[in-house]
Amino acid sequence: MPTITVYDAMAQALAEEMRRDARVLMFGEGVATKRPELVGEFGSARIRNTPLAEGIIAGTAVGAAATGLRPIVDLLFAPFLCYAMDELVNSAGKLRYLSGGQFEFPLVAISMTGAGWAVGSQHNHNVEAWFAHAPGLKVVMPSNAADYKGLLKSAIRDDNPVLFFVDIGLLYQPGEVPGGESLVPLGRAAIARPGHDVTLVSYAKTVAVCLQAAEALAATGIAAEVIDLRTIKPLDEATVLASARRTGRVVVVHEASRTCGVGAEVAALVAEQAFDHLKAPVRRVTGPDVPPPASYPLEQAFVPGVDAVAAAAKALVRKPH
């Protein structure tokens, strides 16, 4: 399998889907400047720069999606989604329902987030939980190049609005990407590493943290299973619950702030549906409830580390019950 970066994996997905379906188009601030190869192949009607105005970029995507196109919009950094909340939440997420099912909204809104560039919380703010909480949307946040490609392709083919989050810490990470269609379905988690003593549930950059923690735990005789959610909504409850029931111990790990984050949802799910199998409390290891700072060491400290994850898992396994 060829090894390419997440950025290139996404570029492949975009080109392949645009080739496959002439209704697919992409626009956003600098999209055409940054992807001249796509402009070359598909023309400037389908790859467009826009004015600097996230609201109308998103709104245009919503209107176009409802009337026959399949737009992809690049909204750059996740905090800028704040300017597009009405269009994404009140229009894309609700107008199908409010119209009694008259419209479909096949659109993808891409944005970047997460620690790595030391740019501070007006560029780095993990808000995926907002869109999981809002109705009518799907939310994807992959952890590796193959999934970035396979999930982006599935997102483009989906008939619903999909928020596609790119962890900037992963953007230039290489990974093996299979050739061919290599679709990854929405709503299906992956078992990134099997194990039977404790389950580490995560997504995006902290999947690697969990894998390293699992490696460290293995050295102490603890077999940790690592689940990569990949899609946050719809959440693959079955995979999470099956693992939780098997191991009886769950640590949820993510970079986003703790309160009402995706970790809260996973923990609540496990506490509700796998309670009888639990041998220990469900732990969350997450970013703190503060704005991510710019200063590099503080930014790094924001992200859950290998030691913290391993320690949380160890404490659960050691806990007598």
């Binding site: 105005a53 109308i56 709104g59 107008l95």
Partner: protein, 330 residues
């Protein structure tokens, strides 16, 4: 490019409003529909609505200038646009009442009624929502090679939302065939327009974006139709957006029931004296020999339709409780 044929819009027959009497009858139908709902909501469990009483000429004048292939976006104050486009008042009332036979299965209520088969798409009650969506609808028309232009109705208040500015600018830069129709009715819920802007005209905001505009007497249905005709002709010709401002007045409250205590009585009276229906009626009488009897005939026809509509809506069942969970995802 247009190798893909997406479902044609609209798919149902759209009535044409041609003759002066048609204009009057369409306005009468809207008036009767809205007054009936106002009465119903004052008495019983019927939900309130945002009426556009006094603004009928705006809806009818613009709709009479559109073609069947054109698409329409509207907002919370949409009954006139829908009825002039040929929507069934019975299904509209059923929707207002939250009944199963409503155009949106009762899930919308009065505030976001879309009728895809008539090309009335993506109605939003978020002020400015229609402005955010119109550009995308027009982009579809252009890229999919469909002939119709897009008419987007909004209020003077919506022109205060930033998305108005973003929409106009993108439509200008991308050359999108949009007729922006601002119904400047002097009110923004409970705030007078004068409190929200310096100057009088929303249309002035078009020029900096390189967009042509016009302001006309929104209570003169023929003036509106003529202005809309020349605006749509320009759009069809050059593919660029146009902003048409209709100077009119909201004669009733923001949302029924509304006691209008905050409204200046003299201003209201002055505008009632310029009522669009009365004006058209007088013009017809003067020019075309339209008699009191003719008028009574129109009114009777309209009243019968509204009676039937109300009966239909009231007989329509509530949605099945299972409907709560449907229509979320495609």
């Amino acid at each position: 490019m247009s190798p893909f044929s997406s479902p044609a819009l609209p798919s149902a027959a759209v009535p044409s409003i041609e003759h002066p009497e048609d204009l009057l009858e369409a306005m009468l139908l809207i008036r009767a529909y809205e007054l009936r709902l106002s009465e119903l909501s004052a008495q019983s469990g019927t939900p309130g609505t945002c009426t556009a009483v006094g603004q009928e000429a705006a809806a009818v004048g613009v709709l009479s200038a559109l073609r069947a292939e054109d698409l329409i976006l509207t907002n919370h104050r949409s009954a006139g646009h829908l009825l002039a486009r040929g929507a069934d008042p019975g299904r509209m009332m059923a929707e207002v009442m939250g009944r199963r036979d409503g155009y949106c299965k009762g899930k919308s209520g009065s505030l976001h009624i879309s009728v895809r088969e008539l090309g009335v798409v993506l109605t939003s009650t978020i002020v400015g929502g229609e402005l955010s969506l119109a550009t995308g609808v027009a982009l579809s028309q252009t890229l999919l090679g469909r002939p119709g232009i897009v008419a987007c109705f909004f209020g003077d208040g919506a022109a205060g939302e930033g998305i108005f500015h973003e929409s106009l600018n993108l439509a200008a830069v991308w050359k999108l065939p949009i007729l922006y129709v601002c119904e400047n009715n002097e009110w923004q819920a409970f705030v007078h327009r004068r409190e929200t802007m310096v100057g009088e005209r929303i249309a002035d905001r078009a020029a900096p974006y390189g967009i042509a505009s016009a302001t006309v007497d929104g209570n003169d249905v023929e003036a509106v139709r003529d202005a809309a005709r020349s605006a749509t002709a320009a759009i069809r010709d050059n593919g660029r957006p146009f902003l048409l401002e209709l100077a009119t007045y909201r004669q009733r409250g923001h949302f029924e029931p509304d006691d209008q205590t905050y409204v200046d009585a003299a201003e209201l009276a002055a505008w009632k004296a310029r009522d669009p229906i009365e004006r058209m009626k007088a013009r017809l009488a003067a020019k075309d020999g339209f008699t009191t009897g003719d008028f009574a005939g129109l009114q009777a026809r309209v009243a019968a339709r509204i009676d039937a509509a109300a009966a239909f809506a009231q007989a329509s069942p509530w949605p099945d409780p299972a409907e709560l969970l449907t229509d979320v995802y495609a």
